[in-house]
């Protein structure tokens, strides 16, 4: 991954005031500048309720990354999907092979597919202020901020509304992918769309597939 803006700020901050600081300053300087920047795996957590298609969204994203010759992992932390129960699904994308099999503990991005989970699940755990949270909600950024206390980047998107409008069904999982791609640029939109068409045209027909693609694209353009 390229150095992120937040990390560079840390570096400048420490250089300015940490030059003659105690040893802990130098350790945290080293940690923030090298260890964190060295993190090569991009990690995402989807928070959703069973039945909302978070697993499908995660798998589409992983397949799109595969399209770009990346190494991927996409896995749920639940067993049998219980409709309506809070669930988490994880995605890892990397230029290097991924060896770990632990759940994602320090995400780069968190996606909340169901806003009723805000306040129920600890979605912002280990989410730093230079990282991002995407929330499927009709509320604005400030409301989400107040609900979660998260001071980083919040991207609200009415994915359910979008999918109802375009597809005619509540399918926030596909629409939210557009937003996720726009925010993270972790894969190309065209690859997400390609994978979706390839995987779903046979299952749900060309018409519905194209409507889903429209929802993805509209969410992408909705910043």
């Amino acid at each position: 991954m390229v150095p992120r803006e937040g990390d560079i700020k840390y570096l400048v901050f420490y250089l300015e005031i940490g030059l003659c600081g105690p040893i802990s300053f130098w350790i945290s300087l080293w940690y923030n500048c090298f260890v964190k920047l060295d993190k090569k795996i991009f990690e995402i957590i989807f928070h959703a309720r069973g039945g909302q298609g978070a697993k499908t969204a995660a798998e589409i994203l992983a397949q799109a990354a595969l399209h770009e010759q990346k190494f991927v992992q996409a896995f749920p932390d639940f067993g049998p999907e219980r409709t309506g129960a809070p669930i988490r699904t994880y995605v890892r994308i990397s230029d290097e092979p991924i060896k770990t099999h632990e759940p994602v503990v320090d995400p780069d991005v968190v996606v909340i597919l169901d806003e009723t989970l805000l306040g129920i699940v600890d979605a912002t755990k280990n989410l730093d202020e230079n990282e991002s949270m995407i929330v499927n909600t009709t509320s604005d950024r400030e409301t989400v901020k107040q609900k979660t206390g998260y001071i980083g980047n919040i991207y609200p998107i009415d994915a359910t509304g979008l999918s109802l409008e375009i597809i005619g069904e509540p399918r926030p999982n596909t629409a939210v992918l557009g937003k996720l791609v726009k925010v993270t640029e972790i894969v190309k939109l065209e690859n997400v769309v390609d994978v979706f068409r390839e995987k779903y045209t046979g299952k749900i027909g060309a018409e519905k597939t194209e409507k889903n693609v429209q929802a993805i694209e509209k969410a992408y353009d909705s910043l």
Binding site: H67, F71, V72, A74, F75
Partner: protein, 389 residues
């Protein structure tokens, strides 16, 4: 979920789907199946492939896992390639038939997606189910990731048919079976050539030379049957190397009965089997960056257990942590127990100890046989037999 990028052999699949992909390429003759979480995606995905005409396996929907293994025994004994898949309580229900498959020397392949045992009920991954049946006579191969599930399926089949013993390919329930990971697949023709045709030495439907399978063996012969089976099982370690070598030629992936990771100069090491080996490698990498001399030994082949290779791999390590994802109630955990056994030979022991197997199948044991063990020099084989003809 299957999706192949253009003109490449690279896919991203779950462990379950990777197993089904390997099954498609093997195209077994018969597959008796019964669903159980977290194994179901294997048979579900494969059944769809058969329905779509991508394989012409005869899938038999049976009424229980006991029947699944029984049907596999019947089909394999008849002279076909039979396979199945299961988890947890399903393996428990099969457990009556598992030693029959091994005793009849039938190279049945079973894909296992591991899961905890009830009670309390739990569907998630641990190794209690496969460890419960570790003495059933089946070869057991653990997989770290989706790629290994795919590769080990072919390796296990070749091995099973070579030594005429059944084999389990073991993936961690959910962690591997339901996790999408990168996977490189082989050409169908390459797989076909690697696994070859199944030409059983003995089979039921051989009308020229009729045979019977699994007849009664009373105390006068049972012990010798078991000794032959023990020899065949121990022989696995001698045969597997060549198969690994052949597989490397077609895949570029180099495997062994165990994997030493950063072990050469390690003072401390973790021993672990299954998907946790991957996570532990990352832990080792991070500690190595801090110049800690740590390493990892991954167990791939658990049955038969490769004692000598493990002794060799661990001989210079000062501190060993053995990870068991199971319990052996009333005893020490199985992998820990095996590692202790492996290391015994290099301890400067104050005493000598010897194993004797006796009395199988009702074979008599006499007082004079018992007295003789006190005169035994306890050299040679670690396991000796009393009363074997």
């Amino acid at each position: 979920m299957t999706y192949q990028t253009d003109k490449t052999n690279k896919k991203a699949l779950t462990g379950g789907a990777a197993a089904a992909e390997a099954l498609r390429q093997i195209n077994p003759d018969v597959m008796p199946v019964y669903p159980i979480t977290p194994q179901t995606p294997i048979i579900e995905t494969f059944a769809k492939m058969v329905a779509d005409g991508e394989a012409d396996t005869e899938i038999i929907d049976v009424e229980s896992e006991h029947s699944a293994m029984s049907a596999a025994v019947g089909a394999q004994a008849a002279g076909t390639r039979a396979m199945t898949a299961s988890s947890s309580q399903g393996i428990m229900l099969m457990s009556e038939v598992l030693p029959i498959a091994a005793g009849m020397r039938l190279p049945i392949l079973m894909l296992v997606s591991t899961r905890a045992l009830s009670a309390p009920i739990n569907i998630h991954g641990d190794h209690q189910d496969v460890m419960f049946v570790r003495d059933s006579g089946w070869i057991q191969i653990f997989c770290e990731n989706v790629q290994e599930v795919y590769d080990n399926t072919f390796i296990a089949l070749r091995l099973a048919e070579k030594v005429r013993l059944p084999a389990m390919v073991i993936m961690d329930g959910f962690t591997t079976s339901h996790s999408v990971e990168n996977l490189e697949i082989l050409e169908n023709s390459v797989v076909k050539k690697f696994i070859g045709e199944y030409n059983p030495k003995n089979y039921l439907l051989d009308f020229e030379d009729p045979k019977t399978f699994g007849p009664v063996a009373l105390p006068n012969f049972y012990f010798e049957f078991k000794r032959a089976q023990i020899e065949a099982t121990d022989g696995v370690i001698g045969e597997i190397g060549e198969i690994f070598g052949e597989y490397e030629k077609i895949s570029g992936r180099n495997y062994d009965v165990l994997e030493s990771y950063q072990l050469d100069d390690a003072e401390k090491a973790i021993v672990v089997a299954g998907s946790t080996a991957g996570t532990a490698k990352v832990a080792v990498d991070e500690l190595r960056e801090q110049r800690e001399k740590v390493g990892l030994l991954k167990i791939k082949l658990f049955r038969p257990f490769p004692y000598e290779q493990i002794t060799e791999a661990l001989k210079n390590v000062k501190k060993i942590a053995v990870f068991d994802r199971t319990v052996s109630l009333g005893s020490i955990p199985p992998l820990y127990s095996e590692i202790k056994n492996s290391l015994f030979s290099i301890l400067n022991s104050q005493f000598s100890i010897q194993s004797y197997i006796y009395g199988l199948g009702g074979r008599e044991i006499f007082k004079d046989d018992i007295k003789k063990v006190f005169e035994d020099d306890q050299k040679g084989r670690e396991i000796k037999y009393i009363g074997l003809k």
